[in-house]
């Protein structure tokens, strides 16, 4: 048993314990505590941290359960054994699919219905097509011949004795296999080779293959051997055709008649001819059997299924109760988890993946999630300071003198500083997928706020601003940000600039509207008071209107953060090579559910962090909200 299994096993027990304990505690508190608030008073919802623990524990427990992490921790050998059963099942599938086991009708009936409908359709189209009367008569004759041929196959009286013998043979082999499955001594001692394979393979979820495939237990050897036998039977079974010599001559005859008919046709009729040929080939397949002809095989395969469950013993209950929401299936070379076991990665694996990706040396696609790198300070100033700052410095850029030497002056030095063209020390700079996403959101938000808030206040206070800017904002705001994305990303580039601009657009509209609401919501008497206290318009804006709008502005920021995250992740999925959304998109293409979940968890944590931060800011800056 690996360390991880022990840890998961303990965690699950602790979670169950916590849930039970918090429920007991909650009920006890509810019984003993005196609650003054009447029903409907929100105070009744205050407190109750133990319900938070209960809720979190339940969610985690559900995760452990449906991802089969609990199953893996408690019964680590289950998957391997289920894999052997799955092999048997997969081997029998070609047989099973002929009968009404996983379907409602058996295959023979389905084929019969389908082909008959298509023959009827063909006959109808012959009626409508343009052709001579003799041609029409011949075409209809061919179709009706094919139909009677096909129906004839389904009749027990035409059932070929040779075919019946093959069916009998398959049925008895199935019965034999069934008896072997029930026999405790089958298939005998495993070979040294088998044992070596079983012992050398890693456990469930430990190796590169999800589930160890070589049988490793008595029941496992049995199922493995049975699966091999079953695939031989299935191969022979699939060779059985329901034909008779008379049937074959009729088919040949029809083939010739169609050819003759084809010789005199052209244009549109060619399609009808090729349909005739296709249908004849199907009839020739011999996939239609009299309905009861293969009952013995049907019974045999069902018997084996029942015996398999029987032989599985306790593992059958593990399958039912510890591995809900899906099952293990066997492919030609490996076994995989299907259902929730597949798309819901195990918490322990997810944590391990997160841990692996968080390692700066590993990261994702050669780029860490969140780390730092040493960069020359020049690279940083290059990024932060626009080059045009140098243009603002008085003077001219130096030109070469007679000897072709350049004498740097203040202007050229400023330019060198702004372009990072100088040697100096290095500073640590954060980097990584998470950092990139974070910076994009923060920059978009930053520009949205510093431009949106003043404009919003202005629009709340001035008729010109309201009238002039309103159409502009109201025209672009209702368009979902992602509808803008293709355009913006084309204009501004798929890397940072485009995304930051997109987020700026999102945040800007929200900030304008919230600042405007805040400004218009300032109570008139406060403005009047400020006026009669001698404040100038600018002072009123700064000291009365701006602080009075702060609650709306902060709410706006809170909303912006949420919308920006959503937009960013989607934009990163659209284009780009870094960011959390990029990671998720690549993981999606590779169906790497663990990484998808890691990104979801990362995004959840980042969002939570932002929101807690905003709540803290709101609590600190506007405790007076709604109390004016």
């Amino acid at each position: 048993m690996s360390g991880r299994s022990i840890l998961v096993g303990l965690t699950v027990l602790v979670l169950i314990g916590l849930i039970i304990w918090t429920i007991i505690r909650g009920r006890y508190v509810a019984r003993t505590e005196r609650i003054d608030a009447v029903f409907g008073n929100p105070e009744r919802a205050l407190g109750g941290w133990y319900w938070i623990i209960c809720g979190v524990s339940s969610v985690l427990l559900i995760w452990f359960y449906f991802s089969w992490d609990a199953a893996r921790a408690y019964v680590p050998t289950a998957a391997n054994e289920m894999c052997q059963v799955a092999k048997l099942e997969a081997a029998g599938n070609p047989i099973r699919s002929r009968f009404a086991i996983d379907e409602r009708l058996d295959r023979s009936t389905t084929v019969l219905i389908r082909d008959r409908n298509q023959l009827d359709g063909l006959s109808n189209s012959v009626d409508k097509l343009d052709m001579s009367d003799t041609q029409r008569a011949e075409a209809k004759a061919i179709v009706s011949e094919m139909k009677s041929l096909m129906i004839g196959l389904a009749s027990p009286s035409n059932f070929n004795s040779e075919t019946a013998a093959s069916v009998e043979d398959i049925a008895s082999r199935l019965q034999n296999l069934n008896a072997q499955l029930e026999d405790p001594s089958y298939p005998g001692e495993p070979s040294a080779d088998q044992i070596a394979k079983a012992e050398s393979q890693p456990g469930w979820g430990e190796g590169s293959d999800e589930i160890p495939i070589a049988p490793a237990s008595a029941a496992g050897y049995k199922f493995d051997a049975a699966a091999k036998e079953m695939s031989l039977i299935a191969k022979d079974f699939s060779r059985i055709r329901n034909t008779t010599p008379e049937f074959l001559t009729t088919v040949e005859d029809l083939e010739n008649r169609i050819k003759a008919f084809e010789a005199e046709t052209d244009g549109e009729l060619k399609r009808t001819v090729s349909n005739m040929k296709k249908l004849l080939k199907r009839v020739d397949d011999g996939a239609i059997f009299p309905s009861s002809a293969m009952n013995a095989i049907d019974t045999g395969i069902r018997q084996i299924d029942a015996t398999a469950i029987d032989q599985l013993g306790a593992f059958h209950w593990v399958d039912t109760f510890l591995m809900p929401g899906g099952k293990i299936t066997a492919g030609s070379t490996n076994c995989t988890e299907q259902g929730s076991g597949r798309w819901l990665p195990k918490p322990s694996d997810t944590l391990a993946t997160l841990w692996r990706l968080a390692k700066p040396s590993e990261g994702y696609k050669g780029f860490p999630l969140l780390w730092y790198e040493w960069r020359p300070i020049g690279k940083v100033t290059e990024m932060l300071i626009p080059d045009m700052v140098a243009d603002l410095v008085p003077g001219k850029y130096p030109v070469p003198d007679d000897q072709g030497n350049l004498t740097p002056n203040l202007k050229s030095k400023t330019l060198a500083f702004a372009t990072g063209d100088y040697n100096s020390f290095s500073v640590p700079v954060p980097m990584g997928h998470v950092w990139d996403s974070l910076v994009r959101v923060l920059l978009g938000l930053f520009f949205g706020i510093i431009l949106g808030v003043p404009l919003g206040l202005f629009m709340g206070l001035s008729r010109f601003a309201k009238g002039y800017f309103d159409p502009l904002i109201e025209l672009y705001r209702p368009v979902p940000p992602l509808a803008w994305a293709p355009l913006i990303l084309t204009i501004f580039g798929i890397q940072d600039d485009g995304k930051i601009f997109l987020l700026f657009m999102v945040a800007f509209a929200i900030m304008v509207i919230s600042a405007r609401t805040g400004a218009t919501g300032t109570s008139l008497s406060k403005i009047h008071a400020a006026h009669s206290l001698g404040a100038t318009p600018w002072q009123i804006l700064r000291n009365v209107i701006a602080p009075n709008s702060l609650p709306e502005i902060l709410t706006g920021i809170r909303i912006s953060i949420g919308v920006c995250w959503g937009t960013l992740v989607a934009a990163e999925m659209l284009a780009g090579t870094t960011g959390v959304g990029f990671v998720e998109n690549v993981a999606r293409k590779q169906s790497d559910y663990e990484i998808i979940w890691v990104t979801i968890i990362l995004l959840g944590l980042l969002g939570l962090m932002f929101d807690l931060g905003m709540r803290w800011v709101i609590k600190r800056t506007i405790p007076w909200r709604g109390k004016g």
Partner: protein, 270 residues
């Protein structure tokens, strides 16, 4: 001399539905510097409108107001206002609210601290300087508003029901305070009130206004404010002359209210 002169002042509002409301009609009066005027009248008779025009927040539809020889065209520090609801800046502390006007005119808050202390003392809130205003009761907030206005040293003090939210005891103290400030500073004060007693006690002059259209109904010159500076206010209230005036004005206002009711009832049947 900066007297306050109303010269044929009328005020009409147009409601969003297009109706015209005559809030004030043909108001003419002169308030000499240092006079204390109380204004009384049924609800909706245009008292707040009158005050807003004097403060410069509204321009009258017709006529002009003059303070001294200057026409009033906008708000100014020479006219301080105490509002019906405190209108405090709830994001500031008590001290920051009180010295708001001083700071807006460039004084540093460390220089104003002494004055703030003094005025908080006067309104009975010493030591509350650092408390956020939203944590104060309605009465306390109203006193801060008073201090905030007075610290600015305006020539005219306009008060819109400043004492309405106070308990009986504080209210009486504040009434004395208003009289004291009036006496000590010699400021012109216009005070709106719903309480006939308060109007009689505080008003050196008293206007009773009538509604629809808002107009000056009757004007009194009263001795009680002068007496209130020396005597106990409760004694004055028990004075028979005071009682008689009170009854007279109450009846007057009752009649007006009844008339309004009659109009409303009449318009119903018409």
């Amino acid at each position: 001399m900066s007297d306050l002169v109303a010269d044929n002042v009328s005020m009409r509002f147009t409601t969003p539905t297009g109706q015209t409301v005559h809030a004030l009609e043909n108001l003419n009066f002169t308030l000499k510097q240092g006079e204390l005027l109380s204004v009384l009248g049924p609800s909706g008779c245009g008292k707040t409108t009158l005050l807003n025009i004097v403060a410069g927040f509204l321009r009258p539809s017709e006529g002009i107001f003059r303070l001294g020889d200057k026409e009033i065209v906008g708000p100014g520090v020479d006219r301080g206002m105490v509002f019906q609801q405190g209108a405090l800046f709830e994001w500031l502390t008590v001290a920051q609210n009180v010295d708001f006007g001083l700071r807006m005119r460039g004084e540093k808050s460390k220089d104003t601290a002494e004055k703030v202390e003094k005025w908080l003392d006067i309104v009975g809130l010493q030591g509350f300087g650092d408390v956020p205003t939203y944590q104060l009761s309605g009465g306390m907030q109203q006193r801060i508003a008073l201090a905030r206005c007075l610290i600015n040293d305006p020539d005219v003090i306009l008060m819109d029901e400043p004492l309405g939210a106070l308990d009986a005891l504080t209210r009486e103290k504040m009434q004395s305070l208003v009289l004291k400030i009036w006496k000590e500073t010699g400021k012109t004060i216009m005070i709106i009130t719903h309480s006939v007693e308060e109007a009689l006690l505080l008003g050196e002059r008293l206007f009773v206004m009538a509604p629809r259209p808002g107009r000056l109904h009757k004007s009194y010159e009263l001795p009680f404010a002068e007496r209130g500076l020396k005597e106990d206010l409760r004694d004055i209230k028990n004075d028979p002359e005071f009682g008689q005036k009170r009854e007279e004005i109450l009846t007057m206002i009752w009649d007006m209210e009844e008339e309004i009711m009659g109009q409303v009832a009449g318009s119903d049947t018409a």
